[in-house]
Structures are given as C-alpha cells and as structure tokens.
Amino acid sequence: MIALLFYIGAAVCLFVLMYALARPHRAPVEGIANQFVAARGSLQTLQQGLLPTNLLNRIFDRRDLDYIDGQAAPDIRRLFLSQRQAISLMWIRRVRSEILNLLHFHRSHSRFHTNISILTEIRLALDFAGLLFVCRILETIFSWRGPYAAPRLVQSVATAASRLCTASEKSLAFLKVPGVSAFRGDSTPGNAAV
C-alpha cells in the first residue's frame, strides 16, 4: 500500500513537473516589443554615450592629473581625484548595467529571431560573463586605487563591450528601418512630401 502511494505521488510530481515545463510562457506582444526597444536603447547608450573613444580618452587622460600635480595644491589634487573617481565609477557601473540588459535580451529573445549556432552562443555567453567579471574587477580597482590605476583594463573593457555591441547589433538589426529618416522634414501641412 505504501509502495503504491509512493508511486502515485511520484507520478503526480512528474506530471506537475512536465506540465510546468511544457506550459507555454506568457509573452504578450507588447512585452516582447518592450524588451527589444530596451535592448536597442542599451545598445545606443553604450555605442553613443559610454564607449566613444574620445570620451574615454578624456576621462582617463593623465595629462589632467599632470596639470593638477603642477598646481602643487594637495586639496585640489584630492578634489580632482575624488571627482574623477566618481566619474570613472559611474562609467563602469553604467557599462555593466547596459551589458546586463543586453545579456538578458540575448538570453530570452535573440535566439528566437536570429540563426545563432551553438558555438557562437557559447562564445557569446563566455564573452558576456568575462566582461561582467572584468567590470566588477575594474569597479573594485577604481574604488580602491583610483581612476588611473588600470588603463589597460579600461581599454580591454571598452574593446570587449564594443565587440558585444556589434554582436547584439546583428540581433537587433531588423529594428532599424533605413527609409525612416527620409520621411522626416520636407513636408508641409496638406502637402505631404512622402
């Protein structure tokens, strides 16, 4: 009797498990669209706001520090370093946060829309994991040693993030409509130029 109850219980558990796994996930159309738009936003933020070379060169430019050292004022040096540290921490935290957004997008949706081989997916997953790890390391270095402690690591984070942006761009390419810019302007009320 106990054995029978045990088997029935196991069967019920298996059934519940299979039902839970087989049940289609609720994914409202607008919900998916939101995730695509959010991923597109993250991509734009990274490419236009956080990774441009000229901005990174300015933030981590040692010539500013040399100029401050030339002032021979320790309080100004302290102020400068704390300001630059805050900026570099803001940069790395935002890069990490946007990369996480892209990772969530890739994990949940991109595989349904692009033909990505298993090998590419594994490589992409490793790239994401590696970059997120290095971002944490860099954040720790900025917190402890200041913004000028790891210039090579900054460069490698920027390069790796750009590479992931390029990969994500391919997944989101269908959101770019080439003709849209041509529709702006040149229209007068009652006489659309489109």
């Binding site: 933030i59 021979a72 900026i87």
Partner: protein
C-alpha cells in the same frame, strides 16, 4: 511647428529626466544648415570661447518648452530652422567643452570671467553656489558626459578661485 515630447528610454528610470524634445519641422534641412552657418559666422564668431558659446546658446532656450529662439535667424529663415540651427550649435559647443583639457577649461573660465566685467570673486561665488552650467547642457546629452563636464568645471573653478585669493606656490619639480 508641431512639438512632440518623447522619452528616449521609457523603460529605464535613469533616463526619465533626460527626455528628448523632438521637433517635427516643416522647414527643410538646407534651411537648418544655413541658419547654423549664419549663426556661426555672425553671432558666434564674436564668442571665441566654447564656454561663452555654451552659456549664450543655452540662454536662447526656453526653460519651459526646451525650444530655442533667435529673432534675427527666425526672420531670415524660419522659426523651426532657427531653433534646430541653434540646437546644433549648442551641441557643438558642448562637445568642444567636453573635449577641452582641465588646463584649457581653467583658461576659459578665467577669460570668461574677465569678459563679463564683473568682479571675478563674485563670479566664482555665484558659479560655485548656483552652478548655472547645470542648466546649460543640451537636451539629450548623455548623463555621463554632462557629469564629466560639471566635474571638470567644479575643479577648474576651485583652481581659478585659488589663483584669485592666494598666489599658487611654485609647481613641484
């Protein structure tokens, strides 16, 4: 001119305050380019410092609507073309300031304070307390770029203030 207010990143709270005002212009792009060129040749040519240009161009922007106004340009071209031309020049001067080194920024602050004709000490006090540069950022600027410029201006102001009130010691060898 139809004005549409659009959030750039509706799903990220960080970006909510960085809303972009999208202006649907009935003017064509040629007018905008011509208006911006005109502005650079006539008005901005008299403002050699990027900082001066930034403050001037920000002052032509309405705080309530985010739209730029310039009577002369609007008469010559159109209200919409003048607005977009001013916005383009504003973004340019912000980019120049973003690219400027700290040393250059101190020099610009000093020259700007001199050009105002006011007491430099009053200028420094007002800028440190009111931080007027915070409202001079073009709409749609990435928060990191804006904070970087603010941070540099804060340090530059401190250096400028130090030069005003106490002569600097000789630089370290």
């Amino acid at each position: 001119m139809e004005i549409r207010r659009q959030g750039t990143r509706p799903f990220s709270p960080k970006w909510v305050k960085w809303e972009v005002f999208v202006v649907n212009f009935s003017s064509n792009q040629n007018d905008v380019v011509a208006a911006a060129d005109d502005l650079r040749r006539r008005t901005l040519a008299h403002l050699p410092l990027a900082l001066e240009r930034l403050i001037y161009l920000a002052s032509t922007r309405d705080y309530n609507t985010g739209l730029y106004h310039h009577d002369g340009l609007a008469q010559r071209y159109s209200e919409a073309a003048a607005c977009e031309g001013l916005a383009n020049c504003h973004r340019e001067s912000f980019q120049e300031l973003l690219a400027a080194s700290l040393e250059e920024l101190v020099r610009q602050l000093q020259a700007y304070a001199d050009s105002l004709g006011a007491l430099s000490s009053n200028f420094v006090t007002a800028w440190k307390e009111l931080e007027p540069y915070r409202v001079a950022v073009p709409v749609g600027t990435d928060p990191l770029a804006a904070e970087f410029v603010f941070s540099n201006l804060k340090v530059a102001l401190t250096i400028f203030e130090r030069r005003l009130f106490q002569p600097l010691r000789a630089p370290l060898a």
